[in-house]
Symmetry: C2
Subunit: 273 residues, 2 copies
């Protein structure tokens, strides 16, 4: 085999590590891949860590010891996250996206991969110290961003449904009061989670918090604790939600009038000041 250069080894490692966020790779994996000594690969990793930090590409972490290795976390710095969300807010604000009933059309934003991945990374950065074992969402619109957050954290995604399906096996059902004030059902397969795990709740939209409250109660049924709650957007009113401690990326206010106007702002916690 031709000798593999440092620039080649580093590029390959960056691709592999960044493609598997939160997943530990042993140095041996790369030693074998490149036919290189551990000291060489170790120097490569040091150089990668430095360059990743310099260009705000995330963190390369090294864990020493027998079960050790190297892993990548798509951590975003607060300034670049705020700038990104400000750009989204400009795109969502105005009169064009307001629907009858003062709803905001943003399904397109919620399913455009590069936007969704970035939002997932920002939420993952915020909640990674809470150490969730999985990300929980309620079908449907929040699934892509919840998946992106799970991907960035290196955890599974768990999806609660409106009703239990034959192909999910036995399930736990709870009733909850939805935003529209109706009683609804939320269902989760018994196989989906285990006792004493930690859930990060991620969803696209928070108004009164009924659905989020339902997810909290669903987790209680499984003896799972809630490590955090992140949303893409929350409405300014009602100010008091049925949950607390949540973080959303943006807040929505719709100014009524002949032509209603949406005002979308980055949430206060994103401000680095």
């Amino acid at each position: 085999m031709e000798k593999i250069r440092r620039n080649e080894r580093m590029s390959v490692m960056m691709k592999i590590l960044a493609g598997e966020p939160g997943k530990m790779s042993t140095l041996n994996r790369f030693c074998e891949m490149f036919g290189a000594a551990k000291s060489t690969v170790s120097e490569d990793v040091d150089a990668l860590r430095k360059v990743a930090r310099e260009f705000d590409l995330g963190e390369i972490e090294t864990v020493t010891g027998a079960a050790g290795g190297v892993l990548y976390r798509p951590v975003r710095n607060r300034e670049s996250s705020l700038k990104y969300i400000q750009g989204l807010c400009r795109e969502l604000s105005g009169t064009e996206r307001v629907l009858p009933g003062n709803y905001l059309y943003y399904s397109d934003i919620l399913s455009t991969p590069d936007i969704v991945n970035r939002m997932g990374e920002i939420l993952a950065t915020e909640f990674r110290d809470a150490n969730p074992d999985f990300v929980l969402t309620m079908e449907t619109k929040g699934i892509p961003v919840a998946f992106a957050a799970a991907n960035a954290l290196g955890t599974p995604l768990v999806i609660a449904r409106h009703s239990s399906k034959v192909y999910e096996g036995s399930a736990v059902n709870i009733n909850y009061v939805s935003g529209s004030g109706n009683m609804e059902t939320m269902s989760l397969s018994r196989r989906a989670v285990r006792e004493n795990q930690r859930a990060l709740i991620v969803d696209d939209f928070l108004r009164g918090g009924g659905t989020a409250r339902g997810m909290v109660e669903l987790m209680r049924e499984f003896n799972v604790s809630v490590a955090g709650m992140g949303f893409v957007m929350s409405t300014l009113t009602p100010e008091k939600k049925r949950i607390s401690g949540e973080k959303s990326l943006m807040t929505l206010e719709v100014r009524e009038g002949e032509i209603p106007e949406a005002i979308v702002r980055p949430s206060a916690w994103l401000n680095p000041a």
Copy 2:
């Protein structure tokens, strides 16, 4: 600014390009980022292309001309894809995952990010020459893999719903016959797609093809052509589906008996021979 080394430039470019599959970056973007000459960046790209191919990490494509630049495609070679799917088949086969009614439990597989991303890349590799403008799926279970395929192709994801929602704006509804033989409704926001686009249909499961047939008809209402259809799993029976030309990653057969057993195999088209 300290001079940035080739190994640093290449690692950064690999991370950025691989993080935005199918999205063109100009060489100028990197020239500015590194304070480097175009000829230097161009040599870096050549080296990246070579190493990406050598380690089966995907393709780095260069497009020349005024609108030109460089982009990454997570193309997987057939051998490694087959090997990966064979591993999944081993995990899914057996008696443990068979549910009452001979359904197979694999919701966990459908929402584990690294598995979902890999399946999405394999489908994207297969259908990229069909040039889809977006990926279409029907809620709920197929959303993560459809999102991963859209991500790998660099296209938006479009999600059809069971009913139209107030926050999606005006919608087109069609009726279709589901797998269970019931008439159901499928709904898509008018804003979601444009005339004359090309859709790649991706979903988790294909039995009779009723839902898939519904998606094809829904696209007809929008004057959108279907560029391809990819599924995670299809059942061996009924052999004749209500659609044709589809590709699935795995086929499922459940052998009845006191303890029913699932036999899951890679689909024939994945065989490189």
